[in-house]
Every structure is written in structure tokens, then in C-alpha cells.
């Protein structure tokens, strides 16, 4: 069972704000899922290599050449706030 403080820690890691009700609900549901995935410990994997790319591609490169890209206007077209042609963000300090 995940503790409430673990759930709060994970929510902070994921930058999600949850209500008190959600914390309790998620604590129960996440614990159920974690209990389910524990199943995997039954299988022996000593000496087995992990797979992250199933078709076996490695180090896919392209030529280091500049290509045309979106215009500044296009790039900013979905943002709410701009400042002199830049994305405007909140101060982080």
C-alpha cells in the first residue's frame, strides 16, 4: 500500500495539483495497480538484457544541416502571452 505522503511526493514530482479527495482515491487505486504489477517479480530475469527498441535500430543520425523551419509567427500562434516575439513565462525564481 502506498502511503499518503508517497502519493503527495509523486504528485509533486509530476507537477500535478490534486484535491484532498483525489489524494485518497488515488492512494487506493495506485496501490491496487502497484499490487498488480508486483506480479512481474515472479518471473526470472537474471542475465536477460532489457529491450527498449524492438526493431533493433541504434544511433539514427541525420546530416547536420540547417533546414527551413516554422516562422516566428507560426511558432507563437498557439500561445496566450508573448513579449516582443518571445514566449512569455512566469519567473522561476
Amino acid at each position: 500500500m502506498l502511503s499518503l505522503s508517497e502519493v503527495k511526493h509523486v504528485a509533486r514530482l509530476a507537477n500535478l495539483k490534486l484535491s484532498e479527495d483525489e489524494f485518497e482515491k488515488f492512494q487506493k487505486q495506485l496501490s491496487d495497480v502497484v499490487a498488480y504489477i508486483e506480479k512481474l517479480k515472479q518471473l526470472k530475469t537474471k542475465g536477460v538484457e532489457p529491450t527498449s527498441q524492438v526493431t533493433g535500430l541504434e544511433n539514427v543520425f541525420r546530416e547536420d544541416k540547417v533546414k527551413s523551419s516554422m516562422t516566428q509567427v507560426e511558432a507563437l500562434s498557439n500561445t496566450r502571452e508573448t513579449y516582443k516575439g518571445f514566449f512569455k513565462v512566469k519567473a522561476i525564481f
Binding site: L2, E6, V7, V10, A11, L13, A14, N15, L16, K17, L18, E22, F26, Q29, L30, D32, V33, V34, Y36, I37, K39, L40, K41, L43, T45, V48, E49, P50, T51, S52, Q53, V54, T55, L57, V60, R62, M70, E74, A75, S77, N78, T79, R80, F87, V89
Partner: protein, 485 residues
């Protein structure tokens, strides 16, 4: 017969012979949407004006240039697109409040290829929000209904695409699958869905769910249509480093070749005790049909698919938590408050599985078992050519079913997860009905064997009649119309 009922193949032939125009074809689909979509709710966005404009352009090209269909095989043919593909200038929501007003600045490679082949986009179809589900019930906008029974779910996440095909609101459709999202809604709605090999079709411009698994593919009315669409979509794309440089096959050259001698593996582990009554029996009857077509049936053994649920849950939710970290509401979209409950649960489980102290126990262990699953398939494919099993352990479930279980999607997709985890292609074909609802079987092959699984599916479809049945609602509406007169 209404034009909207046509398959892609029939539409191609009709347009080539000038039996009808693209405008008439497109108009017929738009009319069907107007008649039915208030009940089925397959579309988030319908772009009527743009579609009509494109259809008129297609008709001009068809009239002016001889042989244009060789160059543009989908010219003038309407498609619905799952609302997970970026479409330049056309709202793309991924069925989430996060992107409710997002207008992409570029087209997904799949969209670009479809447009270059002459395809017309009718609209964007509903899905589970960010593809997080197997029902369309986690959509932030509405739940799509199954055309066979409006109290039932269409499956998901590409549920809107499958429903739009079965209700004849479009000629073709394209969806995406991470594990199940093409095959399972195709099974529940009773149409053809092809999940290609991972990397066969580019992911560029597809809003990501789990990047090591996501695979776009056709949702269509016949196996032949799946071959036609895959031919257009498949191929290396410089915008997706994981797209494969393996040469693209010619998917309909050998489509009609006999099945003689094809070895079909049947793993007993996939005929689950918990599978709803009638499904296993239907698939076994389909295997008899394949045997009559001179396929060779062999019993094989694979890892219990229940393990795949756990592997898939970890891989998918971990990759979800990483992919969805980008939604900060700065460059586009709303901020993280706009995620729904299912999104948040998946992000949090993923963040937990990847966090310090747990990474090795969960993500790394899951990746190791992924290797075991890959090797298990490699081993059986030395002795057989394809695998045939049910697609889903249930027929379409009632609306509301997904809300009871925090792992509803993952549990529903038990029979498709292992092949997705191994990056294999799988084709859903309709193989019967239980309680008036469709049953799907899937044909799975080794990586890049799309040609072969399409051939098996095609052979089966030619000698069976299931795919010719139409949902009652299509007839009812026609009768209503007659009644009004």
C-alpha cells in the same frame, strides 16, 4: 445503395470510371454524418467546407489528368482521422481539455502522406483522452456509441474512427495503437483494423502516448482497403528516427494468392477461461475455415498473456508520464490542471515507477520481460507463419463499464498487449456475432510481415459473409426518412 457505403477499392473504381464524382461521394458521407452522428458521436470536428473544397479540386484533377490515380491512389476519397494526428490549421484536441483550442502549425507525416495521395479529410474522430483508455469514455468531450447498439461502447482508444467506418460516415479512417487501440475498437465495432509493425508508419505529428509502442494504422471496411491505405502510409520518415528503413512491401501484389501451406499457430494460453462466452468458439470456427482454405493449424505455446498486462502497464504509464511532462501551457494548450482523472492516474503511476529506488524493480524489470516476450515470439515463428487468436476477451461492453476498474484498458487489451510489446503487426478481422455484437479475431505475424497477415485476412474475408452485415441503425434511419415522406 448510398455512395457512403462504398469501400475504398469500390470508390477508386467508381471515380476512375466516372460513375460518380468525388463531390457526390464526399457529400454522401457528410449527409450520413448529419443523419447519424448526433446519436453515435464519432466526430469531435467535422470540416464540411474544407472537405467539399477538396472534393471539387479532386474532381478537376480527375477530369484533367489521365492516369492521375496511379500517382494519387486515394484521390477524392474521404477519410476520418483520429483526433490524435496533427492537422495543419485544423483543431486537434486528443479529446483533452489540455488541447481543446490547439491549432497545429504542421501536418503529421501520416496526414501529409494521405493528402499527397489525394485523400480528403472529413473530420477528426473521438478517442480516449490522450489515448488513455479502451472505451472512449475517458474523452473529455463525450462517449462514442457503438453503431450495433447505442447502449454499448465502441472500444478504444480509436473508438470514433471504428464507429465512423461501421456507420458508413466515411470511406476510410486512420487510427493509432499503443496496445489495442486499433484492433480492439475494430473488433467491438466489427470492421478491419491493422496495427502495423512498430516503426513501419511514422509517428511524427502523432500526439505521443508511449513512444516505444505507438503505431498508426488503417481502420477500414475490408482487408483489401487496409492494404491500400498501408501502402500509402508506410515508409521511412526522417522526422521519426524510430521509423524503419526496411523496404516497404507491395501489399496487394500477392493479396489474392492462395493460403495453401501457410502455418497457423494457435496458442492455448490465449483462449482464456474468463473470455466471454461464444468468442473462443467463433474464433475456433474461423480456424476451421482457414483450415479448409488449406492453412495448416498447429498448436503452440506462448508466455501467459496475463504477464503482458503488468509489463504493458509499467512501460506505457512510465512513457506517458515522461511524454506528458511537456504540457506546461506555455507554448500551446492549457496547463496541467486540465488533465482528467485517468490522465493524472497514469502520469502518477509512471512517475512512481520511474522514481529513485523503483526504476529497477519496475521499468527495468518490465523491459527485461519485454525481451522474454520478444524471444518467445521469435521462437514460435521458426515453426509457424502467423498466429490466430481472439482480439478481445469480450464483445462490446455497456456504456459505463470502464469506470469501475483503474486498469480497465490494460485488462481489456490482454490479448493484444504481447504482440504490441514485441512490435509485431496484427490485423483484426470480423469473424462472427455474439448477442448481435461483432466478434473479432486477430492475425499476428513476425515484424514486417504485413503482406502475409493481410493475405490470410483477405482469404478468410472472401469466403465469409460477416463483413457484409450492417447495423440496424443504418436501416432504421433510412426507414425514418421514408416515413417522413
Amino acid at each position: 445503395m448510398e455512395l457512403c457505403q462504398l469501400t475504398i477499392k469500390q470508390a477508386q473504381e467508381g471515380l476512375a470510371k466516372k460513375k460518380f464524382s468525388s463531390l457526390e461521394l464526399t457529400q454522401s458521407c457528410l449527409n450520413q454524418i448529419k443523419k447519424l452522428d448526433s446519436k453515435i458521436k464519432a466526430f469531435i470536428t467535422v470540416c464540411e467546407e474544407k472537405a467539399i473544397k477538396q472534393a471539387k479540386k479532386a474532381d478537376q484533377l480527375l477530369a484533367q489528368e489521365k492516369g492521375i490515380l496511379k500517382e494519387k491512389p486515394l484521390l477524392g476519397i474521404p477519410f476520418s482521422m483520429k483526433d490524435v494526428f496533427l492537422t495543419k490549421g485544423l483543431k486537434t484536441t486528443v479529446a483533452s481539455r489540455v488541447l481543446e483550442n490547439f491549432i497545429p502549425q504542421y501536418d503529421a507525416t501520416v496526414v501529409k502522406r494521405l493528402k499527397n495521395a489525394g485523400g480528403i479529410i472529413l473530420g477528426k474522430t473521438n478517442l480516449d483522452s490522450f489515448c488513455h483508455g479502451s472505451s472512449t469514455e475517458t474523452s473529455d468531450f463525450f462517449t462514442t456509441r457503438n453503431p450495433w447498439n447505442l447502449e454499448r461502447l465502441p472500444g478504444g482508444s480509436s473508438g470514433g474512427s471504428a464507429a465512423s467506418i461501421v456507420a458508413d460516415m466515411t470511406i476510410g479512417s486512420v487510427g493509432t495503437e499503443t496496445a489495442g487501440s486499433i484492433r480492439q475498437p475494430a473488433a467491438w465495432c466489427g470492421c478491419v483494423g491493422l496495427k502495423p509493425t512498430y516503426g513501419r508508419v511514422s509517428r511524427s505529428g502523432v500526439i505521443a502516448m508511449a513512444s516505444s509502442l505507438d503505431s498508426p494504422g488503417p481502420i477500414v471496411k475490408t482487408v483489401e482497403d487496409a492494404a491500400i491505405v498501408l501502402q500509402v502510409l508506410a515508409g521511412k520518415d526522417e522526422l521519426d528516427a524510430t521509423s524503419s528503413p526496411t523496404q516497404v512491401s507491395h501489399y496487394f501484389k500477392d493479396l489474392k494468392k492462395s493460403m495453401k501451406g501457410i502455418r497457423i499457430g494457435v496458442p492455448k494460453e490465449y483462449f482464456l477461461k474468463e473470455t466471454q462466452r461464444g468468442i473462443n468458439r467463433n474464433v475456433k470456427m474461423a480456424l476451421k475455415v482457414l483450415e479448409r482454405l488449406r492453412g495448416k493449424i498447429r498448436e503452440i505455446s506462448l508466455l501467459d498473456p496475463h504477464f503482458a498486462i503488468a509489463v504493458y502497464t509499467i512501460l506505457q504509464r512510465s512513457e506517458v508520464s515522461s511524454n506528458l511532462a511537456r504540457y506546461d501551457g506555455i507554448r500551446y494548450g492549457n496547463s496541467r490542471w486540465a488533465f482528467n482523472e485517468e490522465n493524472k492516474k497514469r502520469i502518477m503511476l509512471g512517475a512512481y515507477a520511474l522514481s529513485a529506488g523503483y526504476y529497477e524493480a519496475y521499468y527495468l524489470q518490465a523491459q527485461k520481460i519485454r525481451t522474454l516476450i520478444v524471444k518467445g515470439f521469435e521462437k514460435v515463428f521458426k515453426e509457424i507463419d502467423v498466429i490466430v487468436v481472439p482480439t478481445s476477451p469480450s464483445i462490446a461492453l455497456p456504456v459505463g463499464s470502464s469506470q469501475k476498474d483503474p486498469m480497465f484498458g490494460e485488462v481489456q487489451d490482454i490479448l493484444v498487449e504481447p504482440s504490441s510489446i514485441a512490435g509485431l503487426p496484427g490485423l483484426n478481422v470480423l469473424c462472427g456475432f455474439v448477442n448481435g455484437l461483432p466478434v473479432g479475431m486477430q492475425i499476428i505475424g513476425p515484424q514486417f510481415s504485413e503482406e502475409l497477415i493481410l493475405r490470410v485476412g483477405y482469404a478468410y474475408e472472401q469466403v465469409t459473409e460477416w463483413h457484409k452485415r450492417k447495423p440496424e441503425i443504418l436501416r432504421q434511419i433510412d426507414n425514418d426518412k421514408l416515413g417522413d415522406k
